[in-house]
């Protein structure tokens, strides 16, 4: 629809009240039954005509991410003065133009939210000029559109032959209010559609996800399961499962874990993630890594819970295969390494080598030994992890074990210019001596390796009420808190670049953690990067009570 356009010079008299009222009625009526684009073009024409202006615009005030306002037009008089500008106006007709230049008359209105009247635009200090070819701008009126306290839009008109004034503005007020109301309505409608669109998109993602995604109500009864989730549990629909408890989806052990551990944890902390399993009607279990999230309303009451469960069968199989491969390779490396180190030792033993030969054999021998240690450590981790390693548990004084470790490692520490300080009080534990030595020794070697020259490593042993505490502290580079958990995983060192300098196998702490766990103990790490670390081992005290 193209609204009838009065020629600019046809009406020069101010409009009448009836005319204004008729226009406002038009605005409301047309808003309801015209496509938006046409409606705002019509509205603009109406404002241009009733103010006896030459051209103008209506737009919404939006904000850039940094909070700066900009104007997005709903309608703008097509002022195209050549092919290029014609193409520009055409291409932007649907999307609206965005204006960010605040150094202009309309920009002044945009920046301040105040009415701008400029009847000598070419000489107005606030004006920014017009592009070459643009029809001249003689007079300008910029009117902010408000809703309550917020500045939601504006319109601008130009070149009223008589100029613009406050009286005209006051006369326009009812129309301005009506225009403000429709801009607000349009904005709300657009936001609703955007929200609906984004909800629809989110729903599509959930429906298309290959993970199990489910929703349960506040009483943990099933409300929704996505198609992949249904497929995972071997069902084609939620028929007969709506409102069922989560136990219908989990084997007993997993249902118990989710209900007894997962949901309580999520209620307290917002979410929970853990190992779980789903079950098919035929009893097949699918191992999953499961996330439980609690969703609350504004008052903090639980609205619903959602869960995402990912099938980890393949990952677990891969993991097991990887472990087996490492173990197999290590086993296979043992015999050749034993042969190499044995042969080198026999050559060294003859003692009649030329100097250079002795040096070279020495290099080969020490590197073969290094490989040997690595292979031994890998196999040790494997044994501890698979639970094959048996403990030969006896009553031991951890203080004595620590003292012997310190004596043993003293030469290594002083070679690195590190002070080893022992502060041990007799504390009896039930432990495998070889493993306890390994635990303390690995921690001390680790502390020495990460200590700066002149630093001190303290080894403290003390009994507490039910525990024996062994604490090894250093003044080294410290460990980023984000890495505290993974440093105990095989082949992890906080600073990858330090691997070479320290020359460790990357397995020392993994062995410590596994060995401590096997003794029913825990290991804790306290560390501040730049200040040092304290590794604290807590083992059950054998003579407690």
């Amino acid at each position: 629809m193209t609204p009838a356009r009065r020629s600019v010079d046809a009406v020069s008299a101010p409009f009448t009240d009836q005319e204004l009222l008729a226009r406002i009625t038009d605005v409301h009526a047309l808003y309801l039954d015209r496509p938006r684009e046409e409606f705002f073009e019509f509205l603009l024409t109406l404002i241009v005509e009733i103010t006896n202006s030459e051209y103008g615009f209506i737009g919404e005030v939006l904000h850039d991410p940094d909070g700066t306002r900009y104007l997005k037009t709903y309608a703008i008089t097509n002022l195209a003065w050549n092919d290029e500008t014609r193409a520009f106006y055409e291409s932007q007709r649907e999307l609206g133009l965005e204006f960010r230049n605040l150094e202009t008359l309309f920009g002044r209105c945009l920046a301040t939210g105040e009415v701008v009247i400029a009847n000598d635009a070419p000489h107005d200090p606030r004006a920014g000029g017009v592009p070459s070819g643009h029809p001249p701008l003689n007079a300008f009126l910029g009117v902010p559109l408000r809703h309550g306290d917020s500045f939601i839009g504006m319109f601008g008109v130009a070149n009223r032959p008589e100029g613009y004034d406050d009286a005209l503005l006051a006369r326009l007020e009812p129309l301005t209010s009506a225009v403000g109301a429709v801009v607000r309505a349009h904005r709300a409608e657009r936001e609703r559609m955007e929200a609906a669109g984004s909800n629809a998109r989110l729903a599509l993602i959930v429906e298309a996800s290959s993970d199990f995604i489910g929703i349960v109500d506040a009483s943990a009864n099933v409300v929704y399961v996505n198609p992949a989730g249904l497929a995972m549990v071997g069902r084609s629909s939620l028929d007969g499962l709506l409102g069922a408890s989560i136990a219908s989806f989990h084997p007993a052990w997993a249902a118990e874990r989710v209900a007894g551990e997962g949901i309580p944890h999520a209620l307290e902390h917002g979410s929970w993630i853990g190992d779980s399993a789903l079950i098919r009607p035929d009893g097949t279990e699918i191992l999953v890594s499961q996330l439980v999230i609690v969703h609350r309303d504004v008052n903090g009451a639980v609205e619903f819970l959602s869960t995402v469960a990912r099938d980890v069968t393949a990952a677990r199989e891969f993991e097991a295969m990887k472990d087996e491969l490492i173990a197999t390779v290590s086993h296979e490396l043992r015999t050749p390494l034993a042969a190499i180190t044995g042969a080198l030792a026999l050559i060294e033993d003859t003692g009649d080598l030329p100097d250079e030969g002795e040096e070279l054999i020495g290099i080969a021998a020490s590197n073969a030994r290094r490989l040997q240690h690595l292979v031994d450590a890998i196999l040790d981790v494997e044994r501890l992890r698979s639970g094959v390693a048996d403990l030969e548990v006896v009553l031991l004084d951890a203080a004595e074990v620590a003292a012997s470790v310190v004596r043993e490692l003293e030469p290594i520490a002083s070679a690195d210019d590190v002070d080893l300080v022992l502060d041990a009080t007799s504390a009896i534990v039930r432990a495998d001596e070889m493993r306890l030595v390994q635990i303390i020794s690995n921690l001390v070697v680790n502390a020495v390796e990460f200590s700066p020259g002149g630093g001190t490593v303290r080894v403290a042993v003390r009994p507490e009420a039910t525990e024996v505490v062994v604490a090894i502290s250093d003044e080294g580079i410290g460990i980023d808190p984000a890495l505290h958990a993974e440093i105990f995983e095989p082949f992890r060192q906080a600073d990858q670049s330090s691997t070479r300098r320290v020359g460790g196998s990357g397995l020392g702490l993994a062995i410590v953690r596994l060995a401590v766990a096997q003794h029913g103990g825990v290991i804790e790490l306290d560390s501040t990067p730049g200040e040092g670390s304290v590794f604290t081992v807590r083992l059950p005290r054998a003579d407690a009570g």
Binding site: G342, L346, R383
Partner: protein, 124 residues
């Protein structure tokens, strides 16, 4: 003169053990590749010490030990198991099976000779 029998399925390890032990003049060293060959040797002549690899295909060290003990005079011979260091945790179980010592591979030639000397002394 003490007679030593080395039983290991790995040819290189056999050679290394033979060279290391033959450096001691009073040791006479015989090497075989399997438990079955070991039993044949042991049935034919007496040995002071048997160094027996635990992990061997076919008849392993534990089974060889059991059969060796059943031979006439098999009780008298000093047997030491050869095992990889990673299996050292099993040493106690091995000792319970009735061996005099458990030696780990890789071995230090000097330490090996020293241990074998001790076994020879213990056997006599």
């Amino acid at each position: 003169m003490a007679r030593i029998l080395v039983v290991d399925d790995e040819p290189d390890i056999r050679t290394l053990l033979r060279i290391a032990l033959e450096r001691v003049e009073e040791f006479e060293v015989v090497v075989v590749a399997s438990g079955a060959d070991a039993l044949t040797e042991l049935a034919a002549r007496t040995f002071d010490v048997v160094l027996l690899d635990v992990m061997m295909p076919g008849m392993d060290g534990l089974e060889t030990l059991e059969r060796l003990r059943a031979l006439p005079g098999g009780d008298a011979v000093a047997v030491a198991f050869l095992t990889a260091r990673a299996q050292i945790a099993d040493a106690e179980a091995y000792r319970a099976a009735g061996v005099a010592d458990v030696l780990t591979k890789p071995f230090d030639p000097k330490a090996l000779v020293e241990r074998v000397h001790e076994l020879v002394g213990a056997g006599r």
